[in-house]
Amino acid sequence: MTVKNKLKIALIGNPNSGKTTLFNALTGSNQYVGNWPGVTVEKKSGIMRHNDYELEIIDLPGIYSLNAQSLDEKIARNFIVNEKPDLILNIVDAGNMERNLYLTMQILQYRRPVLVALNMIDLLEKMDMQVDYDNMRTMLNCPVLPISATKKEGLTELKDTIVKVEDFKNYISNAKVAYDEVIFQSIDRISKYLQKEGGNDINAYLYTKQPESCSIEDPCIFYGSIDQQYFLLRLLEQDELIVKNMNHQFTSFVNREREKIAKHTRMQTELLIADGIYGYVRGLCKDVISRKTTYRKKNSDSLDQVFLNSIFGLPMFIFIMYLVFSLSMTFSDPFIGFIESFFGGLFVDGTRSILTMWNFPEFLKIFIADGIGGGLMTVLSFVPPIFFIFLCLSILEDSGYMARAAFVMDRVMRHLGLSGKAVIPMIVGFGCTVPAIMATRTLDSKRDRVMTILLLPFIQCGAKIPVYTMFAMVFFRQYAGIAIFLIYLLGIFFAFISAILFKKLLFIGHTGEFVMELPSYHLPTWNGIFTHTWFKLKSFIFRAGKTILIVMILMTLVNSLPLYHNEKDNITETPLTLSGKFLTPLFKPMGIDKDNWHATLALFTGFFAKEAIVGTFEGLNLSNTLSEGNDSEGGFSLAETFAESVGELKDGFVEAFHKFINPLHTETVEVEETDEHYLKGKFKSVHQVIAYLLFIMIYAPCMASIVAARTEAGSRLAIFQLIYLTVLAWIVGTFYYQISQLGNGVSWEMILPIVLSFGLIILIKYYAKDENKLIDRG
């Protein structure tokens, strides 16, 4: 095999041009593909194998230009500048050539080998369009290959051409854009000035920081590192990678040139340059495209009349989100029952029965059957609600509705000091906060990005569903779906309150400008939806499931380690009981009783991963059950258990259907599970549960989210987020509980949340004095 894995191929193109689909087709990967701008917000790499060749393909974020206004554009541009890929594979949407070729022309000016893949050629016939490929190759002066990534047409030819990368490694396109004459005159003057002042070492004259100090973390473009004319063009455009660290005298000279251009043409220099590129592209399109009719996306436009309607758009968005949660909760219920009944029987009772038959010692039975078996059953029982949530989100993403949500919600978001675009990361946040934080990269302004990162933890992620499901099923079983939906709404409400607080005190300034492409509506395919759902579900099962399982086993084991016998309470103290009891007084004002240290401990483990809260309760409950000697060792029959479970599943579906048709429908609540007795024993009143859930809803996000926030916006923001959310959660939980207890008289503890609220405002004011105190990155 000829291994050429040292060669790098950068895949670049406009958002929604089919880049990730092509990446998957070339590398055989299963990267996530979506119908909204910003699916790829970080570069991903894969290996392409073809005819004994191996090459590394890097999928860059979808961008419209190389001017690097948003973070994803910067990632793509910096990669091309720093990594200098051996080949740039530019994917161009054949149905939208004019805009796509604007980026192509910018790429060609970097003077790197470029191969253009003209994608979606299968749509050309529908659009009554014909393309003269030969003419296009001549005008772009680089190879152009027609393909359809979705239908896998032309991919073999594309792969054949890619593996010949070394043949055209040194072949650079000489396509020249005819800019306005004043631009050339200006470039000429700057060039002469540089030669005169810079002499033999122009970089030494130009910069305070020299080329050797450039790195991937701190990229820069120096004189001589790219084509000279393009360097001067970018200089006139004030490209930050060029002008940073530039000497003041030269900067003044360039600024004078820019003023001259603006005075002469009444246009900003960067717009005049863009106009030049579009002039070239329009000429090219006129020459190579023949089109008889004007294609209009009539279906998409008609649907937009409904979904983007100024009156119905917002209620429809709220209704769609309600449907997502109602469907998820209602139809996952029968599956949860089936899993608990069948897999509970199989993993716990069945395993215990076999182990008893083989005379295993009791501690091994506890570890294997109750610890591992019970843990597996717990993880599986949370798969149905997560699956349905992800399924619904995948349908929204694939259909193209996500981008519409940004339009519909823009008005609301503006009141909060954000642009409608910030809604997309927030919807992604319903699945998981970590990719949502990554998705903020598509926001153009740093202010919007940081504020969105701060607000994302208020959007209740999928990992919290098991927690809410567990409490809702025990305390609000008849209205579990509505209760969980209300928690989600409350989360959004507190996001609003915090956003207004941040807007007034912390991020005083102008909301980022809102320009966004609306992709066409697509009818989601079953294959696409289930691939995306599986992609996300797999991540949950392996990440969250592993955490729940490990925490459950650890809790079971640590809680069975006796330290000493407490004569007063007549219980055996373990490391867990002691640490839980030590922290519990902090939560007393919000209704956590002294003996409910399990709840305190669950909050602590929830800091590592939210799903661990469930694992903690389950693990501690199991230890209690076992210490009470409550281990039934009756016979186990797989066939009987299965038949019973299927019966429950059937009944569950009938019940779920009635519940879906009538959300207020009530059912007979069976009190059967040990979990139910256990939780009801720990939380004496519903107010305690609500205060506790309010705390969980708001307090510090999981460790992974904090790390993601730190990576995107720096340590200071991550620390601020951690303190702000935890204190706010305590204030809200305590305030609610104290209000609910007013009937029993006013407690001095009522003062605490009020005092802390002032403290929180002082903290925000402290950070508001200087933006840099809060943001050290992003």
């Binding site: 001017n67 900003q268 436009d301 937009d304 009349q305 409904v306 823009d410 609306l518």
Partner: protein, 92 residues
Amino acid sequence: MWFKNRARKGCGVCPRRRSHDNSLESAFEEEKYKIVSNPHRKSFELGLFNGNIIEVIRNSCNQRNIIIGVNDSRYIISKDIARHIKVQLVEA
């Protein structure tokens, strides 16, 4: 559809008159315009360059953004930006 031209017919939302400032913000739905000048770089790069023809798909007074069609693409543009884009009516 019955709600299609609601803004123009003035059914309680926002009846408007043709403005003299020629900005995209005051352009009417379903009309085609030629871009006369656009100082906003990002929208310029998306295809709203001088001389290009665009179609206003949605422009309602109670929304802060407008939707325009450039060739086969549709874009959401905030009115803050649209205010600075000058257009000329080519087809009503």
